[in-house]
Symmetry: D2
Subunit: 303 residues, 4 copies
């Protein structure tokens, strides 16, 4: 499975200062670079130069970056993407700050994803020589790393097929209308060993539902929730458990309205993982296992 992980998320924000405060002081990311209205940030347990890019002006997703193991993989992907009928173009080192060559792809759902093999290595905040398990000077929720993104698509099955056929992603879990005549409502797909690196649910093309950060455990989820209260962060739902992915979660919004998530838990996947099916009558339980009802925002707010 030659895609390694979600490497970066690039979003627009209406108020850059508020966003900087949110992503650095509340979430605890480190500001790596600022240039005009664009800010690059990194979590403490990430080693590449940045994982979140915020750009002033509007709101919503600009693009997602997925890091790929090798140039050979890129070449294979390029061919498959052409065969699939999706649009892609080569991008050069330096088009994205500190980022190498790659492939820019427009998904059938109009989202832009970039596949790249290199980003400048910076190192984690604990280092590589006799490291401590966490940095002493953590800020706020102290998110560890980017984990996954959930995007909307008018035709989730088509996007699932794209990731399956072109990029070797596999579905860990699928939400369908009805076992007899199933129509796909959502799919949670992995390229590594976690439950999902990308997820797609039915909704307006090109839109973002949320992107998620990894935390250590359920106690760090509570700590994050406390920090959100202290910092007046708008909390959407949680803390709670997901039925789908088994994860533990809080959904919340950045000051511009982009939905974030803190996430932990799940299980180990891999090429032989048997896909889990959720039926639409159990959607509430699938999304928010404990309360078992969707709030309205979950299905209506995309950016």
């Amino acid at each position: 499975m030659p895609v390694m992980r979600l490497g970066y998320v690039h979003v627009r924000v209406t108020d850059l200062d508020a966003a900087i405060n949110h992503y650095s002081n509340t979430l605890g990311m480190k500001i790596m670079h600022q240039e005009g209205g664009t800010v690059y940030l990194k979590s403490w347990d990430e080693h590449d130069h940045h994982s979140v890019i915020i750009e002033e002006g509007g709101v919503g997703l600009v693009k997602l970056g997925y890091k790929v193991t090798s140039s050979d993989d890129l070449a294979v992907f390029e061919k498959r993407i052409q065969q699939f009928g999706a649009t892609s173009e080569r991008m050069s080192a330096g088009e994205n700050l500190k980022t190498g060559d790659g492939l820019r792809v427009v998904l059938p759902s109009d989202h832009v994803i970039e596949l790249y093999t290199d980003m400048e290595y910076v190192g984690t905040e604990t280092g590589t020589l006799n490291p401590d398990p966490w940095p002493r000077d953590q800020r706020g929720a102290a998110v560890h790393r980017l984990d996954h993104a959930l995007v909307a698509a008018e035709d989730p099955a088509l996007v699932e097929r794209f990731f399956y056929d072109c990029l070797d992603f596999r579905p860990a879990e699928r939400l369908i209308t009805d076992p007899a005549q199933p129509e796909l409502i959502g799919t949670w797909m992995f390229c590594g060993q976690t439950p999902h690196d990308i997820a797609v649910i039915k909704g307006p093309n090109g839109k973002l539902h949320h992107f998620a950060y990894w935390l250590e455990d359920w106690n760090e989820v509570l700590k994050a929730g406390d920090v959100f209260a202290m910092d007046d962060v708008s909390v959407d739902v949680g803390p709670t458990r997901h039925g789908i992915t088994r994860g533990k979660t809080i959904y919340f919004f950045d000051p511009s309205g982009n939905r974030n998530e803190v996430f932990t838990g799940g299980y180990q996947t891999g090429p032989d993982f048997a896909t889990i099916t959720w039926t639409a009558d159990q959607t509430g339980k699938g999304i928010f296992y404990i309360g078992r009802t969707l709030n309205e925002a979950f299905t209506t707010v995309f950016t």
Copy 2:
């Protein structure tokens, strides 16, 4: 502080079998005795004969029992209660199953509480000789013990004064309308070292908001939430943190609609504890710290 703790809660339920299933299989209490339509249950870490009594027929609170250290304390309380102008009567051993002499009091809010000094000792499920820290054969959420109750009163200040003057309870936290001309909306009062043994909020006289069980920690709260999902328990709010008491919580309903809570956390109180004040503009944060909004049920559903 001569009142030891909330010793029992006696509630009515519409469907006895459903209630038995809820309190024993989902919450993990042990059935100690059944007689006609009345069932007596005990949590694993409680040593007295029972702590919850469910009685078929209707819904809502019958009475609360608070265990008192000595007969001398009872006599003192009786006098103070008369001076206060509340109604009380002596009750005899055996009026309540396995329970000794005591005093039955009608609060200014029409709730009945019983003060008693003895209940048959049964012992916890881990015993008193080289005990393990928990019983191996736990069921469901495996609640440890009863913790507190929250009742409604048209005049919370009057009920607060009753508990303060007559029973030596002290307020750990108070929710008021306005610091300038404060009117009391709610009070959380303790007789021991936890944040609350009784709480009172503005609402219809004689009604119960919820009674709560103690769990070990935030992880047991999640486990309880998972069990509630498995057993189709109606969850009101949570898991979340309370601002008031700092506790970690899930509110949920028994099959008849009586609200229960699983609760942990808090802090240590005592006679010299400095009362915390919450102002009405921070009510959402006080009740549900992370989400910072009250759901409608919280202020409207009493039984």
Copy 3:
């Protein structure tokens, strides 16, 4: 039960700067006052002026302070102590910094304990108006408050009787040689609702085994352990669980060799609590439940 809690611990340290660093940066206490070679510190969730006093010169326990509800209680205690045959003397406000009148007692085991009713109120770090559940700027292990102390005595039964007869403490757990002809090896006694406010084990008179701080839960115990590794604190045993008290713990030493503990868990006690008995053949399990063996230091290192 008119003794409220362990209010302060006063110990000697060989190196004041190292001790200040340990108690403030590693444990997270706040320095409240320094005067000559004596430093007064407070934990974030304590409201009185200080709870730990470190004094340069030597090592070991100077005295313990227990806070008492009222002057009337003090008078009662004084009489009982005289009847018991122990030595006591009145102490005046100001003999101890920011501390009111009281009674200085020499235990049958030669330990000095001071009973007092007042210490200057400073307030916790979260305050009493719409407080957050924890202070944002925590340091190190961020201990919440003092919890209990364990002292050594040649005749533990005699000291137990002192606390029982004179101060209304009750034993939550007792470790005995043999159920047939029991001799007391250790006793864990409470004055409030936690498993212990003082504990006594067989050992040299006048010596301290450890004093303990409260943490929130098992996760905070791990965090403390991590901080101890980062700060090169000498760890004695843990993290592990105690059989006795059911607590979760790490024992460690301050730079002068005084043993500290971080502690959480336990259960609720009270006047009707049925004492738990541990037999000597289960001592290992009683002290360190998981490993079930005592390390040598546990029974030999006192200060």
Copy 4:
């Protein structure tokens, strides 16, 4: 990275009944098949037929099985192994119960590992249709799945090179004697996204140090420790944190003396992970982060 994971561990035990009790009642695995003196067991979150095989007679490691994505990968591995100069032979479906074709390899350290692509699918205990996050009827420590193994080798660097060159494993962490003239003492290698799927430390060829099970979090580690005390399991070290891998752990022995581990935590690895180096002077901290000293058993007991 075409090796998916450690699929099974096959060990010898002196007392089969005691071993069955240990692996099923204490650890919570399910007995899938018994045939003569050989028993096959599965953890609740594993979907293949079995992951642990215990065989009566002696003690110690028989072999490890690593599951491989495809037959093409097997063919590639076979060639590389021949080039490397290690011994391998094809094995047929059915040589191992419910297990398909594969390759049996003798490592330069004399350990036998089997690479295979198929094992009969049984499914997890939570299933694939609207699953709960955990099975209601868990037993004992309720281990989730096999995680990794640590074996001894006279020449760890040679075995590391074997896994690197032949099977595409990468070292997450390496313990070396001295940065100037480094000699390898231990290596922790991954084939997926966790810190290690195999680890090798200096010691006698052909021997096992331990194999490890995955738990959810630090709280499940404590629960496991409690269960070990209840069931008189011999605990080696823990609960504690590892410096190396950042994991949380207890080492313990099965009744025959094979060392097991319960493990959780760590971080996400992948092809671009920057290897962490530990120097020998920090070995204590690397292995047991909190106590910072190795117990003697750690470096002397292999089976």
